[in-house]
């Protein structure tokens, strides 16, 4: 008896990739999962940081999917390599800074490298024609196959019958008749198939799973690039864009103001890299100052810190300012009135 064919499935943690992998497993193919971590993934980080989110069920959805399927899941750190996708996407951005088509091409390309290195036969994705406005269209899905290098070794089991036959179908590794012809934005066919397979409790993230699709996040990342004069970032940069209020009162510095206990605790890990402020006379946020600040700037930063503390209505608030060298001093300041904070300061 011949060895079963082997496929790797791109597992995002959502329903489509769960179903796509399962549909192929139904045909006796040995499947393993691969999940890419870009640094911009919504799940995990924000839940870990924000205290209010700690009541949410703790699970990594990609790992949960792997457990449902009974397959191995390889989680791959692509943070550094992914920068080229974010900074200079060949096919451009979506509504915000989301380079969805380049992202899909990049991930399928990484999966293609993986199957070649590990002796697997083909790649599975949960893509559905018409599901996404940029990367999952009838005209862009062939682009993903071609530019990723995967070619006809890329199978989309949920939309396969709307697409030309792939190598696994031509070779008889997969029965095309047992693949699907889903299309469009409706989730009903997927939900019905999930019910048929007995899947319950799968993730249905509202607003996508990538921070680059978020308008507010895109504004903050654009501000970071513009003020640095270069479209570069590291992991700490993109993590800090996920936490706190970001205010830029002057072109040469911005403040990151913790919104709650969980964020303050997370930001404490960055104190030594930034000038930071914290109210002493009242409870309040940890504030990181990103940039260069003179004496007047520090006074303004302290007044803003006081504004977002419990002493916002007090006449004076004592704020401790600590430099990057660890030297601390205190300032007695009047909280900046809300009316003196222009809306343009908020990123």
């Amino acid at each position: 008896m011949s060895e079963p064919r082997k496929a790797v499935a791109l597992i995002s943690g959502g329903l489509d990739s769960l179903l796509a992998a399962r549909v192929v497993m139904e045909q006796g193919v040995q499947v393993e999962g691969i999940n890419f971590f870009t640094g911009f993934c919504v799940e995990g980080h924000t839940h870990a940081i924000r205290k209010k989110d700690r009541a949410l069920p703790k699970r990594n959805n990609a790992l949960w999917v792997a457990e449902q399927l009974g397959i191995k899941l390889h989680i791959v750190d692509i943070i550094d390599e992914y920068k080229q996708v974010v900074i200079n996407p060949k096919h451009g951005y979506g509504a915000n800074l989301n380079p969805c088509l380049d992202c899909k091409i990049f991930m399928v390309n990484k999966a293609h490298e993986w199957i070649e290195a590990n002796g697997f036969d083909f790649i599975i994705t949960g893509e559905v024609i018409g599901q996404r406005p940029m990367s999952q269209r009838r005209d862009t899905m062939p682009v993903v196959a071609r530019e990723s290098g995967a070619g006809n070794r890329l199978v989309r089991p949920l939309s396969a019958r709307n697409l030309p036959p792939t190598l696994p179908e031509q070779e008889g590794w997969l029965d095309r008749g047992r693949l699907y012809a889903f299309s469009g934005r409706s989730r009903k066919p997927q939900m019905a198939l999930a019910h048929q397979f007995g899947f319950e409790g799968y993730a249905q993230p509202a607003g996508g799973c990538c921070f680059l699709t978020d308008q507010q996040y895109a504004v903050k990342l654009t501000d970071l690039w513009e003020t640095r004069g270069t479209r570069e970032y590291d992991l700490d940069d993109i993590m800090l864009l996920k936490v706190g209020r970001h205010l830029r009162p002057r072109p040469h510095f911005k403040l990151i103001i913790g919104r709650e206990e969980g964020e303050n605790r997370f930001m404490e890990g960055y104190r030594k890299r930034f000038v930071h402020l914290i109210p002493l006379s009242h409870s309040g946020p940890l504030v990181l100052l990103d940039g260069e600040a003179g004496r007047d700037d520090l006074e303004l930063a302290a007044r803003l810190t006081a504004r977002f503390s419990q002493g916002r209505d007090a006449e004076r608030v004592t704020v401790e300012v600590t430099g990057k060298d660890g030297a601390a001093r205190t300032l007695e300041v009047a909280p900046l009135p809300a009316g003196e904070i222009p809306s343009e300061w908020y990123l």
Partner: protein, 76 residues
């Protein structure tokens, strides 16, 4: 049998899982990895990763905000 220690403190999930996975790739059945981390999510994610790969979580200990998870290579 060898034991490797991974310092994943101040990293948020899934990075502690990825660091564990990378360390396990260098080991053989019976070896262990001690993962030091601070993200509470690792308490759920590292055991989940171990379950899908057939590895064993030997111990999870918490002290002063640090979490120490000991994983044994399961031979798959």
């Amino acid at each position: 049998m060898s034991t490797e220690t991974v310092d994943a403190r101040h990293l948020l999930c899934p990075l502690p899982v990825i660091r564990t996975q990378d360390a396990m790739a260098r080991l053989t059945p019976g070896d262990s990895v001690r993962v030091l981390c601070t993200d509470p999510g690792a308490i759920h994610d590292i055991p989940a990763w171990c379950r899908v790969h057939g590895h064993e979580v030997c111990d999870i200990a918490e002290q002063d905000g640090d979490i120490l998870i000991t994983v044994r290579f399961g031979g798959t």
